[in-house]
Amino acid sequence: MQIINYADEERRQEDNRKLWDKVTAYFRSRSLWMLHYCTGCGAMELPPIMTSRWDIERFGIVPMATPRQADILLLTGYASTNTMKRIIRTYEQMPEPKWVIAFGSCTVNGGMYWDSYNTVNNVGEYIPIDITIAGCMPRPEAILDTMVKLMNMVKSGDAKAFQKYKDNYGYYKANQDKLFARTAPVLESASLKYVHNETEGSEQ
């Protein structure tokens, strides 16, 4: 399957955007709401950037509780196969436009857990990632820098990974299915059937 390289495409038609799109892109870049999906130890680095030392809110970036409200999905660390399922569902529940920032080595190559049976070594095979931050773990400065980069990308219209996901959905879906085929027997053997007690009558 052929992967379209959006970065090249964008650069070629950079200035063809309408004024309205430019304006919205500006506003979007100034009001990025993030959903930090704390998959691993990288989440430790988020409190410093949100509190008084680095104060990311001055860029309009605030944490949000649900994917419906968020613009950025932050994957803060390694993803196991079961976690990946949640990540994908969360990602798909975010309204467009949406961006993904992957944290640390684990999300790129599995990091120190690369040979574990249930670690996803490259998150980018399953969901499109706009920016990855190297390091184990990355420093807050790096995160802050990434955020500013993302802001600029949004402003210039470069951050289009979500388009990539839409256009190459078949590719991503195939990868995801291959991955989840491994988890199926685990889920079935675990008897997680929820037994619901029908409670009759009034509460009183």
Binding site: H196, S202, Q204
Partner: protein, 626 residues
């Protein structure tokens, strides 16, 4: 033939007629509709003819005179009778569709008898007529509530015992009062009671206490607020609106007819701006609405929930009456009509839901808005009205009552009123959220919208509540006639504005509606100019990344509906135990049952027979000695 007599005769004759052809249900209910239509029309033509009357002399002597039963067309009676029959007309249309093979309650003939007594109560000129019709109403209602179902019969027993207590006190009161005035005429008895208040205060208080007890029982005011939750819930679904809206007004009617004039004319000890008995009444109304609201919040059965809601609403009406002021009575009368309209709409839409799903527990339903959008809309507008939110009708009357209470400085009563009406918001939304919104359970995937014959009356009710809300004059104009008939001096009310006793506080409701509409348009523009939306599946929810369906969660279990106000309920648990009138009643019932068993055991044993005989002789001898 005298039109007053026709009002009584037509339902009576058709009741017997329909009894004969009870097998053809559709015909029976169509006749029922025709009769209610006739009654509504006849009552409509009777407006303004306050000299209509009818009377009959019976060959039965009391107070040395032959008993006379008479009817008279009074503005107050007309007001209640007309709106009651209008409500009945709409319910009747609904009933034609509702009573199919599956939901056949076969209650039409008894219901016609009930309508017969309904007219009698509202137009009675003397106490005997009033009592006769009252008792007829109580017993016929029992048979409709029980309607040949075992579980309903149990609930109806509860209704029956309390209602019979009511008729007993009414009979006692009537006989006491008519002995006082040596006639059964209601007007004369008011005067004689006023006189009694000046001579023997406590006796007079006892006399009106007996009447008030009856009226409170019928309107389910504290301490008798428990029976509706049983009776309303188990009665036929198409009868519940009648029970809740029309029959709860008998007590209100009785209070306005008899108690208010006495309290207004008598010279009574005052508490603040109003007399002590009236204040007592207001407090009872306040307690009722607060308690009923709290209880309604915790129900899971939707009919029980709205049963308590009805109780709370009648509580408002009683509070309004107890102010003894023009605005308060106006508000109470207005709210009576409003309650008839919006509560009928609510119960009918719930009946439509039950008709389609056969389920009464709210937590087993959900998401019906997709399948029954019209029913949802009717329900929505009705609850907006019930919550007293402008621009629908419920607001105007609540506003009037609140204003009257504030003008009379009944501070804690008005706080109770606000508590109840905010609490109303809680339970109304609970039903909305649990029944119509949320996830649609799989088994209801292919239910349909309510049938056309059900939809028509519901739509009419919806439009009525909107129309009255925007143009309150529809109701305030007849209320003027009622108030004038009661001897109050009232200025003619305007079509759009409602007046109050407080300074600079009048309110133009039509204007309010315009303003709200403009605000809606602004809001709609905001909505339209912003980005596109995409419709997604109902179950596609944020659940921390989990897919609920994978965990064997079905849509109805996914709904948050069962313990809707659980933390709030925990606050009230100790109090709920304390106020469980139901428990008192059932423990009292158990005592009677035990006594009954013990006494009948006395009769089954043979040994004591002669001993008892001697005890009897002893009673006679001792009695003779004393």
């Amino acid at each position: 033939m005298n039109i007053m007599l026709m009002l009584l005769v037509v339902p009576l004759i058709t009741a017997f007629l329909t009894m004969a052809i009870l097998k053809h249900q559709k015909t029976v209910w169509t006749i029922f509709l025709a009769v209610s239509g006739y009654l509504s029309y006849a009552l409509f033509t009777m407006y303004g003819k306050w000299d209509l009357s009818w009377s009959i002399e019976l060959g039965f002597k009391m107070f040395g005179k032959n008993v006379v039963l008479s009817l008279i067309n009074s503005p107050l009676g007309w007001f209640f009778a007309f709106f009651a029959s209008l409500t009945t007309l709409l319910i009747a249309m609904f009933s034609i569709a509702y009573n199919d093979e599956k939901h056949d309650s076969k209650t039409a003939p008894i219901w016609l008898l009930l309508i017969f007594s309904n007219i009698g109560i509202f137009f009675a000129k003397d106490w005997l007529m009033f009592f006769i019709m009252w008792e007829a109403m109580s017993t016929t209602a029992y048979f409709i509530i029980a309607h040949g179902k075992e579980i309903s019969a149990k609930a109806a027993k509860f209704y029956l015992s309390i209602s019979l207590i009511g008729t007993s006190t009414l009979l006692l009161g009537i006989i006491l009062v008519s002995r006082l005035s040596q006639t059964f005429d209601i007007g004369v008895s008011i005067d004689s009671l006023v006189k009694l208040f000046s001579t023997n205060y406590s006796a007079a208080l006892l006399y009106i206490g007996l009447f008030i007890t009856t009226f409170l029982i019928k309107s389910a005011i504290f301490p008798f607020y428990m029976w509706p939750s049983k009776a309303y819930a188990e009665s036929p679904d198409d009868f519940t609106p009648f029970l809740s809206t029309v029959m709860s007004k008998y007590g209100v009617y009785g209070l306005i007819l008899f108690i208010l004039p006495i309290l207004a004319k008598s010279d009574l000890p005052m508490f603040g701006k109003i007399s002590q008995p009236a204040y007592m009444l207001a407090v009872l109304g306040a307690i009722t609405s607060v308690l009923a609201t709290i209880l309604a919040i915790f129900q899971t059965d939707m009919k029980k929930l709205f049963a308590y809601s009805s109780v709370a609403n009648v509580g408002y009406i009683v509070m309004g009456l107890a102010t003894m002021s023009v605005v308060g009575i106006q508000g109470a009368l207005f709210h009576s009509v409003n309650h008839m309209i919006f509560k009928t709409a609510i119960f009918l839409s719930l009946a439509a839901v039950i008709y389609r799903t056969g389920e009464r527990d709210m937590h087993k339903l959900g998401g019906l808005v997709y399948k029954m959008p019209l029913t949802f809309l009717v329900y929505l507008l009705a609850i907006i009205s019930a919550a007293g939110i402008p621009p629908l009708s419920g607001f105007t009357s609540k506003w009037l009552i609140v204003q009257a209470l504030m003008a009379q400085k009944m501070l804690f009563v008005v706080v109770a009123m606000i508590f109840a009406s905010t609490g109303a918001f809680m339970y109304l939304l609970r039903c909305l959220a649990s029944v119509f919104l949320g996830q649609l359970p799989d088994k209801y995937k292919d239910i349909k919208e309510a049938p056309l014959l059900m939809a028509i009356p519901m739509t009419i009710l919806m439009l009525l509540t909107l129309a009255i809300g925007v143009i309150p004059g529809i109701i305030t104009k007849p209320i003027d006639a009622v108030l004038t008939g009661m001897g109050y001096n009232v200025e003619p009310s305007s079509w759009t504005t409602v007046h109050t006793a407080l300074a600079k506080s009048d309110l133009n409701l039509t204007y309010l509606f315009y303003v709200f509409m403009v605000a809606c348009v602004i809001s709609l523009i905001m909505y339209l100019i912003s980005g596109k939306q995409e419709k997604i599946d109902q179950i596609d929810n944020y659940t921390a990344g989990e897919n609920p369906l994978e965990w064997d969660t079905t849509p109805d279990r996914f709904n948050f509906a069962y313990g809707f106000y659980q933390p709030f309920k925990q606050m009230f648990n100790p109090m709920l135990d304390l106020i469980s009138f139901e428990r008192w009643m059932s423990s009292f019932g158990r005592i009677v049952e035990r006594a009954s068993s013990a006494l009948s055991l006395l009769y089954t044993r043979s040994e004591g027979a002669i001993l008892m005989l001697y005890i009897g002789i002893a009673i006679l001898i001792i009695g003779g000695m004393m």
